[in-house]
């Protein structure tokens, strides 16, 4: 359940399911007006939101709360919002990055970028309100449903929308620098949103469009697997927006294989593999050798670079076996190969990639809407909550608050839990 730091949020399946079931009555999201139950003691802008429950943790110090916007005398067709709360006392140098993220989310506008509805500071907490994207991130979906990777059509659909977002970002002079599965959010309506703008870097400096930039990301360690070799190299050549294309290639591998290349490697080994080793691949029957040729190397050190460096993965055998049973199209292979080339000059740009046959394939009518794959996927048995909080009364909120408190307590983060109790919405 632990959220990978830097990830937007984590909604577990049952939480989403719960929301869906509560909506069954009228088919659309039901607004629950807290204001009538609670005395309105909220502070400032927070008053205009109903906090429903907490459902996860974000970053190291953030809590994600489910909320709806209050509309006077109207309680229908309300969409859910995600309210991220960060304790400003906990984050030191991250504050400026949050500010940058909010600024970018508010000033950039594209259908494939997560927007910021509202942001405000209450006491020691910074709140960022964004629309709720119900499936969560692509990484969540991988971990809950697609442990061996998405079907090819879904990947094409996701990558196409991410590419649209990247084309937009690059045209505005921004390098995203942290394109990865956990920064790709997917809604049940088939919307794909790119987030994680806090690592973005502006190519334009003092009114001049730079040919290369040299800034090394502050928390590069969160994104080692996805960062391009030229970013890590930190040499005089610098890097440009093509480094996002590399990250996209790694993300493609992550979506296809269910696990990012180079993951679990010690940082220095990762560096060597990335700069000198073979490029990562998507696994299918053409790239994974048949079982008899599969060298299992029992006494191989963890840093041997076997299968693009994914050795420490415990279930590597099962993954490879599953991968051996499938075939990805040639165009998908070519697409990833193009993206993960070492020389950034050889990688195509984001606009060029949109015209790649792999991305174009999604437009052809022969392939069913990729979204159907998500809904058609057999859902594993869901652990039902023993006491399912019914939305709409005060008791439920106390439950939710309790739940969130215990949830946070599970994280063994005393400070946070104290803070979240102190932050009292409900009386």
């Amino acid at each position: 359940m632990s959220c990978c730091p830097g990830c937007w949020c984590r909604i577990t399946y049952y939480q989403r399911h719960e929301m869906a079931t509560s909506d069954q009555s009228d088919g659309c999201n039901q607004e629950v007006d807290v204001a009538k139950n609670d005395s309105s003691k909220g502070v400032g802008q927070l008053e205009s939101y109903n906090i429903i429950k907490s459902f996860g943790q974000c970053f190291d110090s953030g809590v994600v709360l489910l909320a709806t916007k209050k509309v006077s005398h109207q309680s229908d067709s309300q969409s859910f919002l995600a309210l991220r709360k960060y304790n400003l006392e906990d984050c030191h140098k991250e504050i400026c990055r949050f500010l940058k993220e909010i600024w970018l989310m508010r000033n950039l506008s594209h259908e494939n970028l997560l927007t910021c509805v509202d942001s405000f500071v209450i006491g020691h907490s910074l709140c960022i309100v964004t629309p709720l994207v119900d499936y969560g991130s692509a990484l969540d979906l991988i971990q809950t449903h697609f442990s061996n990777g998405f079907p090819e059509v879904v990947i094409a659909g996701i990558l196409r929308d991410v590419l649209h977002a990247l084309v937009y970002l690059h045209s505005k002079g921004y390098i995203h620098r942290s394109v990865k599965a956990s920064h790709i959010l997917i809604s049940s309506k088939g919307q794909v949103l790119l987030t994680g703008l806090r690592d973005a870097y502006c190519i334009v400096e003092k009114g001049r469009w730079q040919t290369a930039v040299f800034d090394y990301p502050i928390d590069a360690e969160q994104n080692f697997c996805w960062l391009s070799p030229e970013v890590l190299q930190q040499n005089l050549r610098g890097y440009c927006e093509k480094s996002d294309i590399y990250s996209l290639g790694i993300t493609a591998c992550e979506l296809a294989n269910g696990v990012a290349p180079f993951v679990d490697l010690p940082s220095t080994q990762l560096l060597i593999n990335k700069l000198n080793g073979p490029p990562p691949q998507i696994w299918d029957c053409t790239t994974v050798p048949p079982p008899e040729h599969r060298i299992v190397l029992p006494n191989q050190p963890a840093d041997s670079g076997v299968f693009d460096g994914v050795t420490a993965c415990s279930n590597i055998d099962a993954r490879l076996e599953a991968a051996y049973q499938r075939t990805f199209s040639r165009s998908f292979h070519r697409f990833t190969m193009l993206c993960v080339q070492l020389d950034p000059g050889l990688r195509p740009g984001s606009t060029q990639l949109l015209k790649h046959p792999f991305i174009q394939s999604i437009r052809k009518g022969s392939i069913v809407n990729w979204l159907e794959y998500l809904t058609m996927v057999p859902i594993p048995t869901i652990p039902k909550l023993s006491k399912s909080p019914t939305l709409g009364n005060e008791q439920a909120f106390q439950n939710a608050e309790l739940e969130s408190a215990t949830y946070i307590h599970d994280k063994e983060d005393q400070h946070l839990s104290q803070d979240s109790i102190a932050w009292d919405f409900y009386d």
């Binding site: 090394y216 610098g238 560096l271």
Partner: protein, 419 residues
């Protein structure tokens, strides 16, 4: 202590000092192994520079994979330098409280009591102004580039002065550059921090480089305004990087100080009026009539936008590497390398003069052959060129040929031994 240092005092060890003659055939060379060294979480790379205080090497932070630089100070060496230890202590104290984009950042200080060494971890600077200027034929920058560096220098200096710190040793070799061309003022070894409640900036001492010292120091005045010392040295620096010359020169320090003391200098003809005026203002003999930093910042030449009419001076290649890639990689490779490779070439660790000559001849022959039929097919693996060159194209080609093995095993490119 003294005895240990004496190379001729071998009797203690029971060794008689007589010369043994051996033929070159008998000398056995050992190939230098890329031994990977760690200091805390940092991996050591190649040498970046060497000063009187000690070596500066590149390091890699294994946690963030960020390139950094380490200044290694030996206590034994420091003791020999007048005020050495005090200067280092003061520098650390000052650097730890500073935070500006044009002043070098000190991240960490580590001690090794056993080796009597001290490690200062700095932000990584790819080059210095002096190195850059030495790489040009006329030893100067185009005006626009000199202006860019000068503006950053004044920015950094303004910050230092605002913190009550007088650098006292501004010169091109103390101005470093990062990969993105940002100037960093470094070496605060002789800097002086004014007392917080000091009424003025009067100083009594200076240990900076002679050519950049102002007349008041050259004339040996008891006390002098400190901030104006930095203005003077910045003026000399600007003079130097914009014209390639020094305003004051002398065969020895006495003649040099005599010239500086007179305070008379000539501005070269190619210097335009505006720059000449700025230089005259900054190199005024009387420190009280000399420009202050705000006056410099409001000067026409400082404000002016200089057209980029000449190509910029680029950072020269270091040891043949144009883009100055990280140098820790080869050490890391030997650190992570698997055992089989080392077994393969364990016998080639040692070689004699004869081997070296044979190898050189073979290489020359190879080159000759390649020149003759340069358009023929690439050399087959197993030849020297393939083994030595380890060019990425060759390895990639062989990788494609044998995809399975190619993907399962990383090649230790730089660790290839020459057989």
């Amino acid at each position: 202590m003294e005895k240990m240092d004496d190379p001729f005092n071998l009797e203690d060890d029971g060794l008689m000092p007589f010369i043994h003659r051996i033929s070159s055939e008998q000398i056995i060379y050992k190939s230098k192994k890329n031994q990977c060294k760690f200091i805390g979480k940092y991996v050591m790379g190649d040498l970046l520079g060497e000063g009187s205080y000690g070596k500066v090497k590149e390091v890699l932070d294994t946690e963030t994979l960020c390139r950094k630089a380490v200044k290694i100070l030996k206590r034994r060496k420091l003791r020999r330098i007048p005020n050495g230890e005090q200067n280092v202590e003061r520098e650390i104290k000052l650097l730890q409280m500073l935070n500006h984009k044009n002043v070098i950042r000190l991240y960490e200080v580590m001690h090794n009591e056993e080796k009597q060494k001290m490690y200062l971890i700095f932000e990584y600077c790819v080059s210095g102004l002096q190195e850059l200027i030495d790489s040009t034929p006329l030893k100067k920058f185009p005006i626009w580039q000199a202006h860019g560096y000068f503006c950053q220098l004044i920015d950094g200096l303004e910050y230092l002065h605002s913190q009550g710190i007088i650098h006292k040793d501004i010169k091109p070799s103390n101005l470093l550059l990062t990969t993105d061309g940002m100037l960093k003022i470094s070496d605060l070894g002789v800097a002086e921090a004014l007392d917080m409640f000091a009424v003025d900036d009067l100083c009594q001492t200076s240990q900076g480089s002679p050519a950049f010292q102002p007349p008041e120091i050259a004339n040996g005045l008891d006390s002098f305004p400190g901030f104006k010392v930095d203005v003077w040295s910045s003026g000399v620096t600007l003079f130097n990087i914009a014209t390639g010359k020094y305003p004051f020169e002398g065969d020895n320090i006495f003649k040099l100080f005599e010239k500086i003391g007179e305070g008379v200098f000539e501005i070269p003809e190619e210097v335009d009026e505006l720059l000449g005026d700025l230089l005259k203002g900054m190199l005024h003999k009387d420190p009280y009539l000399r420009f202050s930093l705000p006056e410099v910042q409001h000067h026409g030449w400082f404000i002016k936008r200089h057209p980029r009419n000449e190509p910029s001076v680029r950072i020269p290649p270091l040891r043949g590497d144009e883009s100055r890639n990280m140098t820790v990689l080869k050490y890391l490779e030997s650190h992570h390398g698997n055992n089989s490779d080392e077994d393969d070439c364990s016998d080639s660790h040692y070689f004699t003069e004869h081997d070296l000559t044979a190898q050189r001849l073979q290489q020359e022959l190879q080159q000759h052959m390649q020149q003759q039929n340069s358009r023929s097919a690439p050399s087959s693996p197993g030849t020297v060129a393939a083994a030595v060159g380890a060019s990425s194209t060759d390895t990639r080609r062989s990788r494609r040929r044998d995809r399975w093995r190619g993907t399962f095993r990383i090649r230790k490119l730089s660790a290839c031994k020459q057989s």
